[in-house]
């Protein structure tokens, strides 16, 4: 049983950390990037370094390690949305021809795909209802679609006879884009008789879509984990240096206890989220195993993430509220990830539906 990472993985971590640490070397640098279009700046270098090919060539462990590093600097680049999720689906569902045409281009950063799966007022349901496909055309509305404006290619889930199919769209749709609170971009995308090509055979791909979403949730959870760890570091540093009433804040037990509780949550989150990656990376895991693991990871983001993000702001006091200081950016990003991967109720319901699968839930197989 291994919780430590090997030397090759260690080098991957160092390389990604070096790269994104240069691009986003401060909160100010990140803020400047997210204010301009398209809102991210490390994409080409990530492609060059091979990070964008990880979901196609490596295991969930490497994907998670990279995601965690992106989370540590809250890189706004859409690695999970575009590469793990949209790229992952193209790689798993696409025809041989589609794969050979698209996967390398995605890994090299030439094509940026995003998945349009969420529909207005339908929570995190993966079943397409409002967007429908027939006769080569899509109709309906998708929202929220991260980075839809910047994307070269949309992968769209749509209702077909007998389920939810996946389609590729490059043109003929309208977007209404807004800034997200964490500095990204998200759009409402309207399709009206939009020409679309089936991804793979165009039949029901709900299972593949769910599986890709679950892998993305685990990667996202690692991004959140990286951000949580740094949010705590920043907070601890602040408590040691900031003076009030003539002494540094760490002289106040009420504050150090709250920091200790943040640490407890962080370590437990690290355990559950790492465990989810181990499940995802194991070839013996069924899609149901991965779904449950993703829900456990997502629950940690919902709970530990909120706890750490919000207490980080509280322990900073007023400065934590300002956009000129880093900790608020971290909180904002952690919360955004939580909203994208599903909230506590959603994941508890998913797990409750399988409550009879086991007597004792044991992390060891």
């Amino acid at each position: 049983m291994e919780f430590t990472i090997d030397t090759e993985q260690q080098s991957l971590v160092q390389a990604v950390r070096g790269l994104v640490g240069k691009t986003y070397d401060s909160s100010e640098a990140r803020r400047a990037v997210t204010k301009a279009e398209p809102g991210f700046a490390a994409w080409d270098q990530l492609a060059e370094m091979g990070v964008l090919s990880l979901p196609f060539e490596a295991t969930a462990a490497e994907v998670s390690l990279a995601a965690e590093e992106l989370g540590r600097v809250i890189a706004p680049d859409p690695f999970v949305e575009s590469i793990v999720l949209a790229g992952g689906l193209i790689n798993s569902v696409g025809t041989d021809e589609q794969k050979s045409e698209l996967v390398d281009a995605i890994a090299e950063g030439q094509t940026l795909p995003v998945l349009a799966w969420l529909e207005p007022n339908r929570g995190w349901s993966a079943q397409a209802v409002s967007v429908t496909y027939s006769d080569g055309k899509l109709n309906g509305v998708k929202s929220t679609v991260v980075q839809a404006d910047r994307a070269d290619l949309l992968v769209v889930s749509a209702a077909v006879d007998g389920g939810t199919g996946l389609f590729l769209v490059t043109d003929g749709y309208a977007t209404e884009t807004e800034r997200t609170h964490d500095g990204s971009r998200a759009a409402t995308v309207t399709f009206s008789d939009t020409p679309a090509v089936a991804l793979g055979d165009g039949g029901d791909a709900l299972a593949a879509l769910e599986h890709a979403l679950n892998l993305a949730r685990i990667a996202y959870a690692h991004e959140a984990l990286g951000a949580m760890a740094v949010a705590l570091d920043i907070t601890v540093g602040y408590l040691k240096t900031r003076k009030q009433f003539g002494v540094t804040l760490n002289k106040f037990q009420a504050l150090t206890f709250r920091a200790a509780d943040m640490y407890v949550e962080l370590e437990l989150a690290r355990s559950a989220i790492t465990w989810a990656t181990i499940v995802a990376a194991d070839e013996g895991s069924t899609p149901e195993d991965v779904a449950a693991a993703a829900s456990h990871a997502a629950l940690q983001v919902a709970r530990a993430g909120r706890h750490i993000a919000l207490d980080a702001i509280q322990l900073h006091g007023g400065i934590g509220m300002t956009a000129e200081y880093s900790v608020g950016h971290y909180a904002s990003r952690i919360l955004a990830i939580g909203q994208m991967i599903g909230d506590e109720t959603f994941h508890l319901d998913r797990l409750a539906a399988r409550i009879d699968d086991h007597t004792v839930l044991d992390p060891i197989g």
Binding site: M1, A260, A272, H296, Q300, A352, I355, L361, P363
Partner: protein
């Protein structure tokens, strides 16, 4: 769920599971699973079966019956015992006084006590806390004054768990009231509880049970040969012992098993739907805790305990409490007269003993976060 053990550890786990579920009598294990109180005889019987198989004191030095196991194997041993409903070897013997004697006492004391301690032929009680020395243990005031080849002990101990069964008690006593630091004047002494002047008074707890006691010492004469290690060096041994006490305090296996019981009961009563979300929520937290315990165990070999062991104490106790709360809630109004509500009340103790959770937060803030 594939956090894979190595083939050797997997085999080890299966052997433990096989032994615990076949060799420890069903009548004892089912009582543990139903969370009922065991009699002294049942605890002794169970520990003696374990000891005969070399499974009672694996953490001790090899020559005194220990095993050369990895931390992970010790963790697996511990978890499997709990999952099978096997009463754990009496902590006072197996993880507290035994290791102290084995590591610090004279050869004579080792030969006199260790085998009987492992086999629970002697039932040990712990004489640490006093009315004015709880978490601030070093403030203890019970004195031992040397007269010739005897110490004369006077004072009062409290929270002596299961002291009513105790044959012997291991004590922290003040031997040098003038020491410059209060930690420096403390010694570690072994006292036969049948010695004249020792009085045990049970304390009734909020659950109606009697598991803790006050122990009074009135001019109790103890041979100096019963001193462990050096005079006035007792604090060092106590810290060693308290470090052991925290290991395994998270009780994840027991919480997992109780949660499985809760699921069964909820199903029988037709209320599973109402409680399903709460059950899976606790399962998820226990999963995170168990994985944390595995991380700690995997990284503890050959070194100091992982600093995150305070995380296990805090979260482990909170989850023990939450699971017993769930069992009580599933019963509804019937809980007012049931065993489950008493267990719920009794479990308030787990965030207090072994270094209260507030003490653990102080440790995390100071030692880990550097605050």
């Amino acid at each position: 769920m594939r956090l894979q053990l190595s083939p050797e550890d997997q085999k080890f786990r299966e052997e433990m599971r096989e032994f615990f579920t076949t060799q420890i009598p069903e009548r004892i294990r089912s009582k543990v699973i139903a969370r009922q109180e065991l009699s002294k005889e049942e605890m002794v019987e169970s520990q003696q079966i374990l000891n005969a198989a070399g499974l009672a004191v694996p953490g001790w030095p090899l020559e005194w019956g220990g095993k050369d196991w990895s931390q992970l194997q010790r963790h697996i041993w511990h978890e499997e015992m709990q999952l099978a409903g096997v009463p754990q070897p009496l902590a006072f013997n197996a993880s507290m006084v035994g290791p102290v004697i084995a590591n610090f006492a004279s050869q004579e004391l080792k030969e006199r006590f260790l085998a009987k301690t492992a086999n629970l032929d002697i039932w040990w009680a712990q004489g640490f806390s006093e009315p004015d020395a709880g978490s601030d243990l070093a403030s203890l005031r019970t004195t031992a004054v040397r007269e010739g080849d005897e110490y004369v002990v006077n004072g009062q101990k409290t929270w002596t768990t299961l002291g009513q069964y105790g044959d012997w008690i291991f004590m922290l006593v003040r031997t040098d009231p003038a020491a410059p630091k209060k930690q420096q004047g403390i010694s570690f002494l072994l006292i036969d509880m049948t010695t004249p002047g020792v009085t045990v008074r049970p304390i009734e707890l909020i659950d109606g049970g009697f598991e803790v006691n006050e122990v009074f010492f009135d001019n109790v004469r103890v041979p100096v040969g019963n001193l462990v290690g050096e005079e006035n060096a007792g604090w060092t041994y106590a810290k060693f012992l308290l470090g052991n006490e925290r290991v395994g305090i998270a009780q994840v296996g027991a919480s997992q098993r109780h949660l499985a019981t809760a699921k069964e009961i909820a199903k029988e009563r037709g209320v599973l739907d109402r409680f399903a979300s709460r059950i899976v929520s606790l399962e998820s937290e226990l999963l995170a805790l168990e994985t944390t315990a595995l991380r700690v165990a995997a990284h503890s070999d050959g070194g100091k305990p992982h600093p995150a062991s305070s995380v296990l104490k805090i979260k482990g106790s909170v989850l023990i409490q939450a699971v017993s709360e769930l069992l009580m809630d599933i019963e509804g109004p019937a809980a007012t007269t049931s065993w489950n509500s008493r267990v719920f009340l009794n479990n308030r103790k787990v965030s207090i003993f072994g270094g209260s959770n507030e003490v653990q937060r102080t440790i995390i803030a100071g030692t880990i976060l550097g605050l």
